[in-house]
Symmetry: C2
Subunit: 515 residues, 2 copies
Amino acid sequence: MNSPTLPLSFNPAGIELDRGQGLSRQLYQALRQRVLDGRLASGTRLPASRDLAAALEISRNSVVRAYDQLYAEGFIEGRVGDGTYVAQLPESRLPIKKATKVSTGLSPGLPTGLSTKSPVLPGITSSKVIHSEALARVEQHHLATPQSGPPRAFRVGIPAFDLFPFEVWAKLNAAFWRKPDLGQLCYGDSAGEERLRGLIAAYLRSSRGMQCSAEQIVITSGAQQGISLCAQLLVNPGDGVAVENPGYRAAGHAFAIAGARLHGVAVDNEGFDCAALAGLSDCRLAYVTPSHQYPTGVTLSLARRLELLAWAERSNGWIVEDDYDGEYRYSGAPLAPLAALDRQGRVLYVGTFGKVAFPALRLGYLVLPPALVQPFAQRRALDVRHSEVSTQAVMAEFMAAGHFQRHIRRMRRAALSRRNALLAGWPVDIPGVGKVPNVAAGLHLTIPVDSLARERELVAQAAAVDVEINGLSHYWLPDSPLPQDRRAGLVLGFAAVPEAAIACALERLRRAWGV
Amino acid sequence: MNSPTLPLSFNPAGIELDRGQGLSRQLYQALRQRVLDGRLASGTRLPASRDLAAALEISRNSVVRAYDQLYAEGFIEGRVGDGTYVAQLPESRLPIKKATKVSTGLSPGLPTGLSTKSPVLPGITSSKVIHSEALARVEQHHLATPQSGPPRAFRVGIPAFDLFPFEVWAKLNAAFWRKPDLGQLCYGDSAGEERLRGLIAAYLRSSRGMQCSAEQIVITSGAQQGISLCAQLLVNPGDGVAVENPGYRAAGHAFAIAGARLHGVAVDNEGFDCAALAGLSDCRLAYVTPSHQYPTGVTLSLARRLELLAWAERSNGWIVEDDYDGEYRYSGAPLAPLAALDRQGRVLYVGTFGKVAFPALRLGYLVLPPALVQPFAQRRALDVRHSEVSTQAVMAEFMAAGHFQRHIRRMRRAALSRRNALLAGWPVDIPGVGKVPNVAAGLHLTIPVDSLARERELVAQAAAVDVEINGLSHYWLPDSPLPQDRRAGLVLGFAAVPEAAIACALERLRRAWGV
């Protein structure tokens, strides 16, 4: 290939092009690489495109395109009446020189495009490159990342979404996209689509007794974003934040990365211990799950609800009320949320569609005291602008057409029936395992276990026969005062799979546990 | 309605129920309200359900349901063999007492459900209730919120999405939802769907010369979330961050709320002034738009690109490269991004589908140095878990089937043709307005104006005839050293509407401006 007859100050030796690939792109990359690593010095004269094409046995067009690209990027420059030269680049141009590996020539066996690949971040570890204190805090925590993959018994946090009317949803989606309103596809309202906000407010008024208006609703990408926004807007670094202990760790993490000092507050059979909260003088915010405490399943008593509201009022504090599975109540109507009892605008209510539709939907909402709506919407605009628009529009239509209310009833019946399947088949007398509690609400239950060692053993034996059970020990803050063995238990979601699959899983468990 | 013959210590006077509504719910609300505001004191004996039903002329069932709900919530309690009493509530129970308005009776004309509505947050203003320093910083800035509503000439940041193949998109959506993979609808990967990440990496390798792998991609809900994640993970409070001035204000805001001290760096005809950056000793991060500076349209020269990379290497700094409209280049091939030149893993590349598909899609991605992927994905899990899953799956299918590449070509042709329509019809000799620049890339152009007063006049006159033009003055940081009049100009997006609409808008502008 090398042609010694060409009058070049530039030597094309070593440039090998793969005939099966884009030739001009390969040539461009080979030349750029040589400029960057210094083999082609500033001021080097390049051959005329015709000559280089002949030397490399490719079309002149390919060379012209490669030169054009290098020219456009400033790697080469033309001098009038004189030809083409490698451009004058600043002395500091060569970041490649400090890399640990510099390819000294183009590997003959590889297309040149590939040979420009070089190691990224050699020798740099994550702890060296990330400066944020916040991240360091996250890394110290166990990340309560939910399990992924198809639903299995007894995954926590998964509703009976195999019953979701996907045909209806597909039709509503197709209808939205076939005749889209172009105005809706520009940038939207960061507080969310107006129609959906109105329908959510109406739903909460009728189903939860919340006297809220559409203007108080901010649509979020799931409950987690709602919690995260509360953390980012209401917590200053160093503020105390009270969380239930045991509790929803991902909420604690969201507050921690906003700079909160987390205080774990005990949960007894009336729920969150408000007297303990009152003793925490630096606390400005309490995160609670009153309908169905996560993960213990306790319902916060009315007396405690009022105590909590009085605390917020007295201390000018905030209550973040996560009503993640409030739709699921099996005896009596759902309890009135704190947000419905609040008269002073101290409660931020977190709702989600994930537990009624399906988790991957990532659609939720906040109900905010009116004065907070604008700051939250603004912050959201800077975080993410707004939620994906078709999901909002389709959910609005799903609600307006009555599918949503019907589906809630269907899901509640299904969850109840699956709860019953679990309770009916749960082995009695498992050594070291306590009594199954009364389960009046929610999608999961928690059973005490005598010791951490026994919890681990049971969870591992279950996993070995393809049954997911969470250890209660994972739901505690790391510095919990309770002895380790008092924190042990089994957390089981009962709604994720149909009754038959529950029965099979229980059969496998019985064998695995020998009971 | 009041029946004096009943042996009650409880007086139902004033309870009026709207027959058109749910009676038990109204009764429940009326009673709850009376407990909360003290009209029904603890220990008050309630009438038997049969008696109250007779007194109110409603069915006994309705009373039983209301009592059940109050009982479940702890407002009332049963005493064995003795009847039903208002429960003993803690002394601190009455948040309503401090509200400015307390309804002293149920308005006769209103259903009782409505009468429980009371003012929320009376007398509290946003500045009193929000404690976060971060928010205070946001409030000081002008929020560069994009315009909403249907596309109009000459809205900035909007591609020719009237040409998007919505029929194809509708079909792909319907196909996804009709046969959903239940595993995909549980919680997903916070870094994004694997298939989409692979397709994006392949696209960037072929179209941008970036030697990146699927593992380096983190899917985001649009470019703004990518920028916001960079801010939250890489900036410590008090860190200096360099941004282009004029520049993309929403990026500056995202850094500011993470605690950054913003330094505006001037933009000249080679782009971002790297010499000025080198003089900023506290800067750890630079945010730049190299392909097509926002809003001036300048392309960062190769010399400056290498200088910038050398700065990052020398100072252990980060470069956030926002390639928001890199697909649009009208002469020569797109320039190689900084991320393709980076050999030290200092560049975080922000990409978006919003400028190729449509803005409301909210789908974008980061290409990260490998060591940063895990921290970013974890942070994202806490912020929002993951992006909506169907959008990711449908975009993956759209790319895999070749629609995406075809659509980019279609969009580039359309934007070029619309650019030409604007350039051809733009009035010459508008008093106080400079020359239209050479527009080789992007979706907008910027034209200098002599003074701020003239800019405002032109923008207002355009708005009066339904033409959107942004004043360049809005793109500067508040403390810019340049005199106000030197910051004036007109920013026009040329792709948002078809050629005929552009011609009409130009005709209206000519009349409005008298040229």
